[in-house]
């Protein structure tokens, strides 16, 4: 198998790397770029722990060949917020939406894309959208509240969403 030269935009920066065709995006992110936020949970597309955003849309990195990402824009949990946390991350902290934290990067990336398209989702819309992200610890309530109130809080505080 011949290695291919791949160029991506990763968390806002242009990055080049070489990969064999059978390398998965999750392993390139974790091992090559040390971005260990995306987690290996099931490897079969059922848990959502490996979720990253490609062109702003949630994608499962455990089922994505790294070589297919040439020319794409990828954002991981490490690419949210800059000096301050993203408002959604703040909301997760405030609402007790994190216990062991394993599902959290996937949850946040998925929810981030939901809020980008729909700033005030209903609880039902949130549950529907997050149904591919499994959590063993929290029972989901804190997560849903965190997503639901993320932008409400900001509006109440007078800041931009």
């Amino acid at each position: 198998m011949t290695e291919r030269e791949i160029e991506i935009t990763l968390n806002g920066r242009r990055r080049k790397f070489r990969a064999k065709p059978n390398e998965l995006l999750i392993n390139v992110l974790r091992d090559r770029f040390s971005l260990t936020g995306a987690k290996y949970g099931c490897g079969l597309g059922e848990c959502g722990a490996c979720t990253v955003l490609v062109e702003g849309k949630p994608v499962l990195s455990c089922l994505t060949l790294a070589v297919s990402m040439d020319g794409h824009d990828i954002r991981t949990i490490e690419g949210l917020g800059d000096e301050k946390l993203d408002p959604l991350q703040e909301s997760f902290l405030e609402h007790g939406a994190v216990q062991c934290g394993f599902c959290t990067p996937g949850m946040i990336m998925t929810a981030r894309s939901l809020l980008d398209g729909n700033p005030s989702p209903s609880e039902e819309e949130i549950r529907e959208y997050l149904r591919g992200n499994l959590c063993r610890c929290t029972g989901y309530q804190g997560i849903i509240q965190a997503v639901k109130h993320c932008n409400e809080k900001n509006r109440a505080g007078g800041g931009a969403a």
Partner: protein
């Protein structure tokens, strides 16, 4: 080594055509070998991780924009590599082909629908493929193209068995065609799974046309209850020319229960599938009838 889902142990040649012609040329060149098309990867990569499939060549079609479209054209033409999430957002699909919209909404989760494509769902040919029953119920067709020719087949005939389709070596699915629907028509899709993101224990779609108070056409397509999605043609015929009422529906549901040939597997038993598909058939007909503008069914 044991199958492992943490990484992909298999080695293969990765090919990334930029146009349909390039893709067909590659498939033709490797027709004696074992190429597989990679679209969203949500089925193929899993099957390769578990060792169920061992392609020697992967022809990745994700960078062929000319295969991603939803075009109104005396009905609807859909490019094979169109992601399911795009179908979900399409006003033509949601407004015109309810059963297909409902089916796509029922699939997995947003991330999987961003990756997965309508062509991939058909070509993976799981007997539980959710786009199968609605496309069959609408009488949809699909184009199978090769370097030298192309042919159009009914989606109903495209499925041959579990993981098997009509695709010949060198052929790829390029388009799905949905016929235009008359005003007094309605459709419905139902799926039962363990949880909302699951593969179906049973899925089915009903499409019917109404003339005044009677049903002039009815198609019932069921998935996960046979080796491929099937039509319950005997059940369908019971409704033809009749005004639907509870008695007819009970008869029809019972007939559908006789036409399915399910197995017992990890998701459900054959007995459950026979029993519950009857309930679902009745419910789907009631919904499709209401959507066609039909009055209440007594």
């Amino acid at each position: 080594m044991q199958p492992n889902s943490r990484f992909l142990a298999q080695e293969f040649e990765y090919l990334e055509p930029g146009t349909v012609d390039e893709a067909l040329a590659l498939l033709d060149r490797y027709r004696g070998a074992s190429p597989r098309i990679l679209a969203g990867g949500t089925d193929l990569i899993i099957r390769m991780k578990t060792g169920a499939l061992r392609p020697e060549q992967i022809v990745s079609v994700g960078k062929i924009p000319e295969l991603q479209y939803i075009a109104p054209d005396n009905g609807l033409r859909i490019g094979a590599v169109t992601p399911l999430s795009r179908l979900e957002r399409s006003p033509e699909v949601k407004g015109g082909y309810s059963a297909l919209y409902e089916a796509v909404r029922s699939m997995a989760a947003p991330a999987v629908r961003n990756m997965g494509t309508i062509g991939g769902n058909l070509c993976n040919a799981s007997p539980a493929a959710d786009t199968g029953p609605p496309l069959i119920a609408f009488g949809a067709t699909c184009t199978l193209s090769s370097l030298r020719s192309s042919r159009v087949v009914r989606v109903e005939d495209f499925f041959v068995g579990p993981g098997r389709t009509l695709l010949a070596p060198g052929e790829m699915l390029t388009e799905v065609q949905l016929p235009p629907l008359p005003a007094c028509s309605g459709s419905s899709f139902l799926k039962i799974g363990r949880v909302s993101a699951d593969i179906a224990k049973i899925n089915l779609a009903v499409y019917l046309e109404r003339e005044g108070e009677t049903c002039s056409l009815c198609r019932i397509a069921l998935g996960a209850v046979a080796e491929k999605p099937i039509r319950a043609t005997n059940a369908e015929n019971l409704l033809f020319g009749l005004r639907p009422d509870s008695g007819v529906l009970k008869e029809l549901a019972r007939m559908a229960g006789k036409e399915v040939r399910p197995i017992t597997d990890v998701r459900s038993t054959a007995e459950y599938r026979v029993d519950v598909c009857q309930v679902m058939v009745e419910e789907a007909i009631r919904a499709a009838w209401a959507r066609s503008g039909g009055g209440p069914i007594r």
